[in-house]
Symmetry: C2
Subunit: 350 residues, 2 copies
Amino acid sequence: MIEDKNSARTPLSELGEFGLIDHLTKNFEIKQPTTDVGIGDDAAILDFGDQKCVISTDLLIEGVHFDLSYVPLKHLGYKSVMVNLSDIYAMNATASQITVSIAVSNRFPLEALEELYAGIQTAANLYNVDVIGGDTTSSTSGLIISITALGYAKQEEITYRSGAKNNDLLVVSGDLGAAYMGLQVLEREKQVFNVNPNAQPDLDQYTYLIERQLKPEARKDIPELLKALEVQPTSMIDISDGLSSETIHLCTKSEVGVHLYEEKIPLDPAVISICEEFNLNSTTVALNGGEDYELLFTIKQEDYPKIKANPNLTVIGHMTDKNDGMGLVTRANEKIEIQAQGWNPIKKEG
Amino acid sequence: MIEDKNSARTPLSELGEFGLIDHLTKNFEIKQPTTDVGIGDDAAILDFGDQKCVISTDLLIEGVHFDLSYVPLKHLGYKSVMVNLSDIYAMNATASQITVSIAVSNRFPLEALEELYAGIQTAANLYNVDVIGGDTTSSTSGLIISITALGYAKQEEITYRSGAKNNDLLVVSGDLGAAYMGLQVLEREKQVFNVNPNAQPDLDQYTYLIERQLKPEARKDIPELLKALEVQPTSMIDISDGLSSETIHLCTKSEVGVHLYEEKIPLDPAVISICEEFNLNSTTVALNGGEDYELLFTIKQEDYPKIKANPNLTVIGHMTDKNDGMGLVTRANEKIEIQAQGWNPIKKEG
């Protein structure tokens, strides 16, 4: 889409570095009470009062983390913010600010960066975070996006990966595997397009999957919900690399084992259906697919009544003694050791 | 130096993403009282108590900001930290934490990244900042370094670009132009090397210039000195793009003019000498060279006695009414309008 011949194309050289930053950030308003000063000086000034400051950072590289042949720049801007805010929510904290640095080669016209920043601004507005700084520079090859997210929480609310105890319940928000299958659909369409550029894809039935891949939503609502339900999670992590990988992180950091029940893993019907189409095992996709940006956390058994009726939350297992290991209990009631696969290719296993 | 055939070369693929982060950051200790939790969870946790949090970020790209054919990776790591801390000091604040994200192509062996991180660690130790997080990812081409620096200051100590008043004195730390001339020397040696790879360069006489380019020091000491002298600067900025560009920023943000005196601009004898060798005007080099990472600030006239004896500080001018414009008063007592040139090529003007 950035090669659209009908669009206006303003070379970045027309603005210069300072002109570019000013142009791209002129509509960013400061709304957060914790932001004293945003863009425009050597640094931004924040005031978290008596709360703790939570900070996380991510680097997104064209050709590694995204493929501009099917990712619209506006969606990419939005998703870049989500990826970072998800880490703040995974601390059970409130996200409040981001800094955004980008490097671009001069194949990008100004209009392309405006699209990217429109996505960033939409995300910042919807998630109630201020864009307080950043850097804009040239790149020798592709597009690079570096975002740092900040937030705050009270000491006693902060949730680490390391707090899970034996017998705690393992809970996940939303459903899993859709973002990965959305990527498979997009990759397939790219192959079709490469063979026949005139093919008109009909992607209607894949809308949910593609949205989960291109425009994921970070779970801002989950820390809010848990607070409203008066549930303090004992450990928490966001699912960026896949359920297996993140479960292993919680177990390792908390020094516990886990029983994770295959039949409990929440799957959208669209995921089940597409897995049949692609001849993939949906459990494997949910375990290893990644990019769901759901929250995986543990709660005390006694908090179960508070969450059991909530459609956003699914109990998928419970923590065990460390010596029991990390096991997936299959539908056939067999126990298989959970292994991290992250982004390795997934093949149907049975 | 990263192509040294005698060095050990461990492919990054041997470690994997998590192994790499753990390996590179295993020696980083938490020392700052404002750091509650560093690397190892979804986010780091900071506590600035009743002080303001100051935050700044920069992105450094191979082929744009640095040339690995003459920049040792250890120096690059060190300089990347300096560039960011300089922004914190320019707020008259104390730097306390950094996050470091890097993207590398697989042409870099593990040993190269260890060199880079050794420089980062040296800088963090010397400047008393904690490395609290970051991201390590692959890149399709060169090396990318994204650093976010955090610090703190009391509300009343924070110094913006916008606080200068008519009649305030304009003061600069250290001396100017050496980093730019160091770059010229290195570029010349690269040309010589390209023509005759066996030439043995004798760079002894250029040591100061090359050090200022390859291993600049951020002026941590200046906010400390000003506090000890009981001087609250009225405005401040760090010199990354050159004296002209930064002076213009102070004037524009503060809505004042300036008289900057050519004869007062502090130059090291090595800069004067190399400018003659390269047939460049040393004033132009000081005004437009950049990368000095000195601090440029304004103080009230009444504070002059407190700073006048200090060898680190030079009064180079005074602020005027906005309508007087921004003028360089030359040695011939002519007034020339100051223009931002930043990194454009510099030609000898007279």
